[in-house]
């Protein structure tokens, strides 16, 4: 039996929910601050009290529009809210305001990088809804409810079943998360639940096109659990099929401790939501000027930046990833600005970013607002080095001072006396002294022990605290040894 299903294909679609970065909730003015005392951010609207009326938050609508544009979606010029009816105490109204057949964005795609290849994953829809309250199951017979999260603007991004492995699922989520963080729609905090991912997974015999039985996976709170959970589920389904078992359509929960998935007990008729147009909310209507204004406000997106760095600047994919794959687009903005001001070899700027900038940035906890060094200053420093006014070793020292003080490199060099000792006149006494101290070394170099020459260069550098022009030191030493 095992061989019959030896070759199977995994097919995944992903549903990603992101709480939108707004100050106030979707339909009322309650704060969205995370971590506030239970039920301290509630009002008649988000508690579903009779007579209250929702009014949409423009910023939340614009976040979804911007996301839809960033994901290359078509915008529905007219979009409406629907009621999704269900009885569960996480929503006090007994319905969730969501979108149904006319979501804000449809038919987009996201390009995802994996092992040096770019894979296009189609996006089915991007829609706007409200988040639910939080239930705490502390006691056997009762649950405790906190409605602070009830009514927080929530966006859902649904992909087509274009994902074929746990690696691709993780890469897709990473790429999507980065876009959402860069455009400011989401803080991307999976561990706080502000970004949540629910893959649906099915397997089928290789070469067939019909989708198998779908299993939805919940409780994936990190990239690692997305990867592990999907990989586990693929293996479980493959083995079940190999044993000739029938798979059931169900929702399973990833158990982070035991590293398995287990079925969740779900309500009967759970999917009979009886959607109907939300009568309390009038339609959303978008026009070209509004959409174009939002499009113009989008930053350059990670994938476009990747393409530019690799194609135009000749960076390796790995080098590009170190600059781009960060929650702070400001890091690669900095690189771009420094390169513009420098005008030289992009690799040289990238090397400085990777070795010195990112080392200090990471050590400082990736705190962007605390960064003092300016891109123009990095460019100016590189120019000083190119002109031979500071040595490579001194450049490192200058960079560290620029990092901690934000001063321009010229000023640092001036204040600390770090200029290269570039005249023969200044260097001569130091070189003569070094030669006088090491007569045996000089002698062996004259006898052909070329390897010892660098020792003398090192001694001169040490005596000048790295400020000597290395080319000049070389020439002067040679002249004197040949003497």
């Amino acid at each position: 039996m095992a061989t019959l299903f030896a070759k199977v294909e995994t097919v995944l679609g992903m549903e990603v929910h992101a709480e939108l970065l707004t100050q106030s909730k979707m339909f009322c003015g309650c704060s969205t601050q995370f971590g506030a005392p239970p039920n301290s951010q509630c009002c008649p609207v988000c508690l579903g009290l009779p007579g209250s009326l929702p009014v949409p938050n423009r910023a939340a609508v614009e976040h979804v529009l911007r996301t839809a544009l960033a994901l290359n979606c078509r915008i529905n010029w007219r979009s409406i809210f629907h009621r999704k009816n269900y009885f569960y105490p996480d929503l006090p109204k007994a319905y969730q305001i969501s979108q149904y057949d006319v979501p804000i964005g449809v038919d987009g795609y996201l390009d995802v990088r994996l092992d040096g290849e770019v894979k296009r994953i189609r996006i089915r829809r991007v829609h706007l809804e409200e988040d639910t309250g939080k239930l705490f199951h502390i006691e056997a017979a009762t649950s405790f409810v906190d409605y602070n999260r009830s009514g927080v603007p929530l966006m859902e991004v649904v992909s087509e079943p274009d994902i074929y492995s746990a690696e691709e699922a993780r890469a897709y989520l990473r790429a999507l998360r980065l876009v959402l963080v860069w455009i400011g729609a989401s803080d991307g905090k999976m561990e706080q639940g502000s970004l949540r991912c629910e893959p649906n997974i099915s397997i089928r015999p290789a070469g067939t096109t019909e989708l198998g039985t779908k299993v939805e996976l919940k409780n994936l709170n990190s990239f690692q659990s997305v990867y592990q959970g999907v990989a586990y589920e693929v293996e479980r389904q493959t083995q079940a099929l190999a044993r000739g078992e029938e798979l059931v359509q169900e929702t399973r929960r990833w158990d982070e401790e035991r590293l398995i998935t287990a079925p969740m007990r779900t309500k009967e008729y759970a999917h009979d939501y009886r959607y109907f147009p939300e009568p309390d909310l009038v339609p959303l209507e978008f026009d070209a000027p509004w959409i174009e204004r939002l499009r113009a406000g989008l930053p350059e997106l990670p994938e476009a930046r990747y393409a530019r760095y690799v194609r135009d600047y000749g960076l390796s994919e790995y080098e590009a990833s170190l600059l781009i794959e960060r929650d702070q687009p400001q890091v690669s903005d900095f690189f771009d600005a420094a390169l513009r001001a420098y005008g030289g070899d992009p690799k040289r700027v990238s090397n400085w970013m990777q070795s010195d900038f990112l080392r200090l940035f990471n050590a400082a906890g990736e705190d962007w607002p605390a960064v003092k060094v300016r891109p123009e200053h990095l460019a100016a420093m590189l120019k000083l080095q190119d002109k031979g006014q500071i040595s490579g070793k001194i450049a490192k020292e200058v960079f560290e001072v620029m990092w901690t003080t934000g001063k321009p490199p010229e000023q640092i060099v001036q204040e600390r006396g770090l200029q290269v000792i570039g005249t023969e006149e200044d260097l001569a006494p130091i070189i003569d002294q070094v030669l006088a101290q090491h007569p045996a070394v000089v002698e062996s170099i004259r006898k052909g022990e070329e390897g010892k020459f660098n020792f003398l260069v090192g001694q001169v550098m040490r005596a000048t605290r790295g400020k000597a022009d290395p080319g000049l030191v070389n020439r002067m030493l040679r002249e004197r040894i040949a003497g």
Binding site: Q23, S24, V55, R58, H137, K267, L284
Partner: protein, 97 residues
Amino acid sequence: MPRLSIEEVEHVAWLARLRLSEAEKQRLTGDLNTILAHFERLQQLDTTGVEGTSHAVPMSNRYRDDEPRPSLPREEFLREAPDARDAFFVVPRIVET
């Protein structure tokens, strides 16, 4: 010509968490079928080229600015809840995970 069976009425009542007596089920099945029959009549109207209507008022794009406003004091609404403890609403436990 009944469109809706009594079982369907029972299902809809269950979805809405309504407990109906046998007499009520009978009466509602009749009422609902009358309503459906009426809509069936309306559907005979030729609506070719007429766009669907989701809302009765000719209005769109009503928004608020993203500005937080004070919420209600917790005591005020927890007091109205069927059950509450400390800072929480308390509800019967429904679904396990």
